[in-house]
């Protein structure tokens, strides 16, 4: 993790963005034997969304497309410490989706059916069982709860540390505080990038710039769906364990868990005009706090240590934009991530394979970059996010 060498004049692949997407991809490319991989990042290590998220890893959703992709990723998380040779601290503590309204109970029934169809291990919790799993919950408010026993959390500092170390051990060159300012093309394909005055040649370029993805696409002169969206979270002062699994309070668009450090970390979505800032605001903190007081009354006395914001890139259907860009040969994209922490191991693996061998895995295909132009959005009803009307 020491100071990197000066920038090289060329690289076999340049990845813009050293968040978890960029690093996971770099690691998987190195594992496939690619050499001279260069990863460039404008900010500091973990300065992007990959150091600001809720760290939840959800292995199943309400649509078969999302479920197949994220179930694969969740499986990879479970063996990731061994693969990277560093501890990612993946905690297989389970993920409980809690519904309060009766309509939400209906959604959970339909979700369970999708999980069955995809061969996912999940089950509805009886009131008695829910009391054992989440004793601190205000059970009188609950209409239904669906539990994913294989899902969980992995602290982003551990995951980012492990990916970075594993990349460096495989000779990947990672440069933080290094902003890509232009993208070069020649003969109708990618030919390199520029960092200020310096030119770095490469015929393969991957945009993994998170919230800056549209700006990067613009530099390459290609269209890209999506826009930056601010998400916020907050951490409570630590206590000994009170909340076991990761929890989604579906009717409040709220997710949370108690970290291995004892802090309850989570956030609730509030409809707001999209903000392009890393300043946190008040409404999310207030809505999250309200969800906590009502659903976990013991948290009412707890004090809020800190709140923060991160920027993610949101596509029309909230799904990732993953694969080759149809408008510029040599250009690949990993963007549109609102669950990009959970999805990183699978995205890195499948995209690396697509880049090296040209084969597009079935689990990745639905999230093709040009799906909106082809009018093939992926409908996922089970995520805790919404567009601002």
């Amino acid at each position: 993790m020491s100071m990197p060498n000066p920038l090289p004049a060329k690289a076999s692949i340049i990845i813009v963005g050293a968040g978890i997407q960029g690093l996971s991809l770099a690691f998987n490319l190195a594992e496939l034997g690619v050499r001279d991989i260069l990863v460039l990042d404008a900010g500091y290590w973990q300065g992007g969304a990959s150091g600001r998220n809720g760290t939840l890893i959800r292995g199943a959703f309400s649509s078969p497309e999302w479920t197949r992709f994220f179930a694969h990723s969740c499986e990879l998380w479970q063996g990731l410490s061994r693969r990277l040779g560093e501890n990612v601290m993946y905690s297989r503590r389970g993920y409980t989706m809690v519904g309060e309204r009766s309509a939400t109970a209906g959604l959970l029934d339909r979700t369970l059916a999708v999980h069955k169809e995809c061969g996912i291990h999940s089950h509805l919790l009886t009131p008695g069982r829910l009391r054992e799993v989440l004793p601190a919950l205000a059970h009188e408010r609950v209409s239904a709860a669906l539990h994913l026993p294989d899902s969980g959390v992995a602290p982003h500092h551990a995951a980012m540390h492990a990916y970075r170390r594993a990349c460096e051990a495989r000779g990947v060159s990672i440069h933080y505080r290094t902003c890509v300012t232009a993208i070069d093309q020649s003969a109708g394909r990618v030919s390199g990038v520029r960092v200020g005055d310096q030119r770095i040649a490469s015929d393969t370029l991957v945009l993994a710039g998170g919230a800056q993805s549209n700006a990067l696409a613009q530099m390459a002169g290609v269209p890209l769906d999506g826009y930056p969206m601010r998400l916020e979270a907050m951490a409570l002062e630590p206590t000994r364990p009170l909340i076991g699994p990761a929890v989604a309070l579906l009717d409040r668009l709220c997710y949370m868990h108690q970290t291995a450090r004892g802090e309850v970390v989570g956030g609730a979505e509030v409809a707001e005009r999209p903000q392009h800032t890393l300043n946190a605001d008040v409404p999310v903190m207030a809505a999250t706090a309200r969800a906590y007081v009502e659903m976990f009354p013991q948290l009412g006395h707890a004090r809020i240590l800190r709140q923060w914001a991160g920027l993610v890139h949101i596509s029309k259907d909230f799904g990732p934009l993953l694969g080759a860009h149809h408008a510029l040969p040599g250009l690949f994209v990993s963007a549109g991530w609102c669950y990009g922490h959970a999805g990183a191991p699978a995205a890195g693996e499948l995209l690396a394979k697509a880049i090296v061998s040209g084969q597009v895995d079935e689990r990745m295909r639905p999230f093709a970059v040009d799906r909106f132009e082809l009018n093939r959005p992926v409908v996922e009803p089970g995520i805790v996010l919404s567009h601002f009307e």
Partner: protein, 493 residues
Amino acid sequence: MRRVDLRLEHASGEVVGFFWNDRPVQGRRGESLATALLANGIKVLAWTRKSHRPLGYSGNYLSGVLARVDGVPNVRLDLFPVAAGVRVEMQNCWPSPAFDVLRLSRLIPSGWIQGGFEHTNLVPSGTALFQRWEAILAFLAGSARPATHTGEVAVPPARRLSAGRLVIGGGPAGCAAANEAAAQGLDVVLVTRGHDLARYARAAGLARPVLDERVTLVTGVEVFGAYREGALLLGAPHDPSLGALALEAEEIVLATGRRACPPVVPGMWLPGVMEARTALIMASEQAVAPGERVVVVGNGDQEALARRLRQLGVKVVAVRPLGDLRRVAGRNRVKAAYFAERIACDALVHSGPWLTEASLTFQGRAEGLLQLHEQRPCDWQLVGAAAEPDQPVPVAAPASRHTLLCPCFDVSSHEVQALVEQGITDLEVIKRLTSCGMGPCQGQPCWDSLRAWVSARSGIALELLARPTLRPPRRALSVAQAAGLADVVEPLK
């Protein structure tokens, strides 16, 4: 244990009984629990998270004054007034404060736990043992039992206050800024965290300033955060049963004064070390001395501070320039201060290095990040001590395991030195590798200590080392208080 008597002559006579770890103790009406415990000779109030080092009432490290009060964890003892029958219990003990097995963790070599729990490769995930191991880590790191279940918790309604001029800080400079605006016919609100005006100035012997009666005075409220490019500020009363405050004003004046950050020398975290403001207010208002034999150090103002403490009846045994202090020694509390010579003492009061409160100004002008945009200028007015430049933080020469930059997380200068030697000088990165400053005080004062250390060791000028992002609400706000804000602050539409 020898009976200590730290009560000064002017103490109030009204005795109030409460409990410390089930043992009855006595305080006096009007003082805080932290002061009352100190007056009883109880100096160790808490333990650090990982190595179980003792912490006490310092005025700097919040974790030193957090304890369980009547079933609620992490209550600030320095803000909670003594009341009859209150049950105060030490945290981070197991199975009990009297028989605490966790104290054995002081024997663990500090190298094993560097980098925090999250960077340990001891038990990797994916192995059969991991979930059990994680549960142990969570238990240890959590330090305190969750609040006792008492059914629903009431949400105190929040209030909105707007003003022509908002003054934050009720010292002489804040009062003057408020009076001046009131005289011009402006609608003025003055918010101060103290329960009364100018506590520090009065403790130092000055008169209570007179506040124009047209000024709306709000006391006992900590203004902890600035939002929406400084257009909205939030404050929270220390009393968690009262609602939070959303503040708006055409003009904002910060009269938040300064605080004395601990110099970076070994042992500065030991119980018995106290910041000058805290010591002075305690001795004057609450009539309790910081110790029986007190050493005073300062950046030029040490003689004046010592004189005032002596007037109040405190026994000051030595007065020295801050820069001469080499280390503070003791195992569970201060036993001596080392300068060119050793001076036996049980308390050390440091007047400086004086730093301004940086988080509000940071939030008022930052785009929240030092990441992709520049900071914007802040058009708030700074008055009084808040307008003075920060003093440099003295740094002792060798790296040491006893020099804690962040006591709450046991981050020592030794640990940070190892990173600096690898070429890692980005404070945001060091924060993420060590957890420095991520405890209850949220980087105040730890990031100042960290910054001073990295600058001294790397040769990088202080101005080029940006502090990590200062995030609200720094535990000033409870979850129930925050919930009340939903009714008074609309999302941006």
